[in-house]
Assembly symmetry: C2
Homo-oligomer: 705 residues x 2
């Protein structure tokens, strides 16, 4: 275990001191409300759902990504530059294809602590060499601009994605440095940062280029680089990037780059300074990456106002612009967040990268504030949107995560029925790989009072509290079961400390039980955490028993798209109906559920999903054929009739593994409104005399005949 990790025997952490062992993503230098544990201080058990997912990521997703980053040509773009191939040689794929390589390398670096297989290592060596050789002597690095239009370097900040790509290179380098992987990458990052510092303004009036990137990412990456290297100039550059954004006097120049489109400055989050904004808007991934960087800068500069600004935007986002699955982005056109309460199920864009970005942002807010709402948001998006983005074999992916797929849906790359094994714009798959490879870093924290478990997992924690080793086994069948059992294996601290376990938002008030060494105890509830303070000893066993009842959920009445519908949840999981589970011949469009349906959870899982789903939900529904009704007609609300049936719902994340895959998360409740009196069909009355009546024509004064 931990064979490749570095520094796991480092001294115990003090307040504001990073924890021992290699750090995972996000290692604040300044004191935060909560401190992340080290990358190796949490280990997922292969028997748990999260550990199984991380294993799949390692043995399937990561090798798949390395192979596709090669076969798609993304690595080749860098290799051609590295080989000094003449300018103008073809570039394959998007202008930001380098970032596919960097994100894959970051995933490899995080996996490095568990050891990676030879083909993945070979890719890592090959890619690191290509990157190193491709970098220009002055530190500039971008295969598209170097190969296609070196004259336009830093001239199309709107669409060029150069700082975006640089950010992902820095993140890969940070991961590499923290885990001892990818030798050579840190040197590339150092040269790149020097180039950025020479090029871009870090303070008003320093005479350098005043510009920001159309796609945020560099901000959080520069802060992480600062955290890893201590180079305060990187933090200064990140801070100034945040300050420049939204300023009316800062241009976002563009050229005639292919793919550039006439989106507004709000798309680029450059319409108002972050500190002045009250709402989450624009391109979802851009906004969420930006906010991660905002919290990073606020954290490292101690800027409380900036932190508050990000929390204000969070409140707007989660009050009216978040899908039940935790996803964001209501529009396909510009991948944007959309208006408040504009949350269409069918055309949910809900991009996988936005889900990953929101997970990262919420983690930073959780560290900064200790507020449980951020952990709730993380759990929701992780177990629904992020978990569902990858197939159970780990080798195909959703880019967009719809909540409603019609029977007759027209399949397109933009909104496919099933996961695709790669995308023209391949940002999501390697993004999933890097998150899942480091997901154990996002589950637990410590502070001066003790240890906090935010997201349940099956595995082990081995850390130090007040300088002394603490080791515990955590056993849970999450997300299928609400109970968590903690067995203290080793506990050196002799003073009392507090074990805190988050009470998920989905818990039923009062249906929570804590048993310590066989005896029920009354823990304290603090800000949505159960806390148990005592002098812990090896052998202590504590059970947090949490009911996981089925929940019938409705949306705010302003969510027009799901008016008159309910959704089913259990624990952190949103459920859905798939057409594959309907009686033969029934269409998912005909399904109606009662306001108070008969619901049961069931371990009888649809065939083919047994190894992937432990708990299905059986629900009584009716199937009401509506095919004979016109598109519009007289409003005559009538109770829905139709055959009763029992359908089985599966977790949303497990959808789209079977042939037909028509799907609904939100189920219409009875009564349906029946539309009668056809308005577009031809009348069947033909050649019949018409009875003359005395009907007037309403309120307009009529002239005589």
């Amino acid at each position: 275990m931990h064979a490749d990790a570095t520094g796991s025997d480092a001294p115990a952490p003090e307040s504001a001191v990073p924890p021992a062992g290699p750090a995972g993503p996000v290692r604040p230098k300044r004191a935060t409300r909560l401190r992340p544990l080290g990358l190796n201080e949490v280990e997922l058990a292969a028997s748990g759902a999260l550990g199984d997912w991380q294993h799949r990521n390692r043995v399937a997703t990561l090798p798949h990504c390395t192979a596709r980053v090669v076969s798609s040509g993304a690595l080749g773009n860098l290799e051609r530059i590295a080989a000094g191939v003449a300018q103008g040689a073809p570039h394959v794929g998007m202008v930001f294809s380098d970032s596919d390589v960097y994100k894959t390398l970051e995933a490899i670096a995080w996996e490095h602590v568990r050891g990676t297989d030879a083909p993945v290592e070979e890719f890592a060596t090959r890619a690191t060499r290509a990157i190193t050789d491709a970098q220009r002597a002055d530190g500039y690095l971008n295969s598209w601009f170097q190969g296609q239009r070196p004259d336009l370097a830093w001239k199309d900040l709107r669409w060029g994605h150069e700082l975006y790509c640089a950010g992902h290179l820095l993140q890969a380098s940070v991961a590499a440095q923290r885990t001892g992987a990818l030798p050579g990458l840190a040197a590339v990052a150092e040269r790149l940062v020097e180039h950025l510092l020479e090029t871009f303004s870090s303070a008003d009036g320093d005479g350098r280029l005043i510009g920001i990137c159309g796609h945020p990412e560099i901000e959080t990456a520069l802060v992480e680089h600062y955290r890893q290297t201590g180079d305060e100039r990187a933090l200064g550059l990140a801070t100034h990037q945040i300050d420049l954004r939204g300023r009316a006097d800062v241009e976002l120049p563009t050229t005639d780059l292919p793919g550039g489109r006439p989106f507004s400055l709000s798309y680029f989050l450059h319409y108002l300074p972050v500190r002045q904004r009250r709402s989450a808007t624009g391109h979802a991934v851009r906004e969420l990456y930006l906010q991660a960087g905002v919290v990073d800068v606020a954290t490292e500069t101690g800027d409380e106002d900036l932190l508050t600004a990000s929390e204000t935007i969070w409140e707007d986002l989660y009050a009216a612009k978040t899908y039940l699955t935790g996803a964001h982005g209501s529009r396909h056109r510009d991948e944007s967040i959309g208006d408040p309460y504009e949350l269409p199920s069918d055309r949910a864009y809900a991009e996988t990268c936005a889900a990953i970005a929101s997970f990262q942002w919420n983690w930073r807010l959780l560290l900064a504030t200790g507020r449980a709402r951020y952990a709730d948001a993380m759990e929701r998006v992780l177990w629904n949107t992020v978990a569902g983005a990858t197939s159970r074999d780990g080798e195909s992916f959703f880019y967009s995560n719809t909540l409603h797929l019609r029977t007759s849906h027209e399949d397109e790359e933009d909104a496919p029925r099933h996961r695709l094994d790669w995308y023209e714009c391949a940002c999501c798959p390697p993004n999933l790989a890097r998150l899942v490879a480091s997901v154990q870093s996002y589950l637990a924290t410590s502070d001066d009072s003790g240890l906090q478990l935010h997201l349940p997992f099956d595995g082990q924690v081995r850390t130090r509290l007040a300088g002394s080793p603490v080791s515990m086994d955590i056993r849970t069948d999450h997300p299928w079961d609400g109970d968590t059992q903690i067995i203290m294996e080793d506990c050196a601290p002799t003073a009392p400390w507090t074990l805190s376990v988050r009470i998920p938002r989905w818990s039923e008030p009062g249906r929570f039980r804590v048993v310590l060494n066989g005896e029920a105890v009354e823990p304290t509830l603090q800000h949505d955490y159960l806390t148990l303070s005592r002098t812990w000893r090896a052998g202590d066993r504590v059970q947090f028993a949490n009911a996981m009842p089925l929940r019938l959920v409705a949306a705010h009445p302003r969510v027009d798209a799901v008016r008159g519908c309910v959704a089913l949840e259990r624990g952190p999981l949103v459920y859905c109906v798939e057409s594959d589970d309907l009686p033969p011949g029934a269409a998912i469009e005909d399904l109606v559920i009662d306001d108070a349906p008969v619901l049961e959870c069931s371990t009888k899982v649809p065939a083919g999903l047994e190894d992937y789903v432990k708990v299905a939900i059986s629900a009584s529904v009716r199937l009401v054929s509506s095919t004979s009704q016109p598109l519009y007609g007289e409003h005559l609300p009538t109770p829905a009739r139709g055959e009763t049936a029992e359908v089985r719902l599966i977790p949303y994340f497990a959808r789209a593994h079977r042939p037909s895959a028509a799907m609904r998360v939100w189920l219409p409740t009875a009564p349906l409104q029946r539309a009668v009196a056809a308005m577009t069909e031809e009348s069947s009355t033909q050649g019949t005399p018409l009875a003359a009546t005395s009907g007037g024509s309403g309120c307009v004064d009529q002239e005589g005949v």
Copy 2:
């Protein structure tokens, strides 16, 4: 009147012979079920709503278009080519900007029969000269390709829009020839058609380029050119274009043109031959222009199977893919029609050009078949989407016609709160101008049995039936009133003939009265037309009295976007609520309407709209504040409470003339579902001990602690 029209004294029409006078758009050469009247045979009275609209088009919209076609640079693009400016000089606007010029010229040509003002005539002369001089010696004509990339001519059929632009040039030329306007344009068109015939395959194996256009339009234009000139080669080329479309062996080549995007072949309607398709799909304007061409070819070649194919696609479109306002196109991303029942109100794309194209397609189907359903579709889209696309001053326009605008909608060119005075992609404004300038041609027809009035209008008909002059006054206050009065001014035919008046789909069965010369008569109902057959005499007066009650409309239960909502209609008009008409402080999002509300029509029209709207609707509603509710929570259906209020609805077409302009067509009915038990807000319980309960965790086997 009619000073500039040509041929108004031509001989009387026979079956299959075009009617007398200058023809309007669509003049079939082969016999159709119904024959259009000539352009001058219907005249709109300035006192009627339609005549007023046409007047506004002439005095405001058309001059505005000519000015903006100049100031936007669209005309300049052609003028630079005409002046022989060196290749590579900048092109302004879209690759298809030439079509803005052509459509404006077409509008001028149709207006020519009523006479046009000097500035408009000056534009026409200037533009015709530019076009003439820009045309290459070999007949090729396209300012973008000639100026930017002559090497790519006919090489990017996917995005190049060259045939699309050529089609609009042909349509302008046809209008010019039919009205005697724009001397010189016909010669350009002849040369262009020769070039197309030399370039493109008209039959398998003729050795010429096998290719179709990514944006249909050339098909209908070539048929109109054939109708006008008799050049059967143009019909042959159009027929082959239709036959090639969707064939798997026909490529749709693309280059790296700016703006090209990775849309699928269904976007381009090139995924399946028209004859094999059962559904309307892809880019809405492309599909609808294509279908107009399909019916034109079917009509002129007598191809009944092809006509049936188009009617099959119509049935699919109108059964599940049409907005209440008659509009089409549910998606912004690719401007596509969308899946069946995917009809979001808020993100309705509902492009103005698609509405115009559907009007044109339905007219062709009406002529070919005589079926009233096509006239119903025309009336619905004309009085709602098309009428609402232009502001009441005639100088600003909607490109996209949403059915729902939220209070906090973020304004963008793609979906603005108010009409804009021009667009980067300016296809819609001149398209409106050319339709409205010729709208009188789309209202009435004749056949061997007599005359048919399809869409009510206030004005005159002067035509020949069985070779003899017939002249009648038509008086109606349509769309505000259902009555139509017809006064026979002159009626030379001595034999009986049939006057048919369409019974709109919105009519109430049985509430129809016909009074002939002061006495009620029982007319015959034939296929949704009231028919009155007799030997008509000058002085005969007939009144068709039709009630125009308010209608509460519901949508098919599969239209998820408006589940639980109703809309209000009166006559052909869809109504909407605007926030400007709510009590102070009330949000449109809080409005709830009863299943059976108190409704009254009212001539009390909101201030500022008195000259534009004759009938408002007053409705009893409730205003239910929901701001304190969480985004998602426990499903607890409860009746909506809240203050009662009376709101005034205005016709959809009259929307967005006041400041706030938040708007709904579909109004939620009570009960609202109240979502309680916050899922994202923090609990307020802090530091309280938690009662231990015995809640189990459901259906997963639990291991002992």
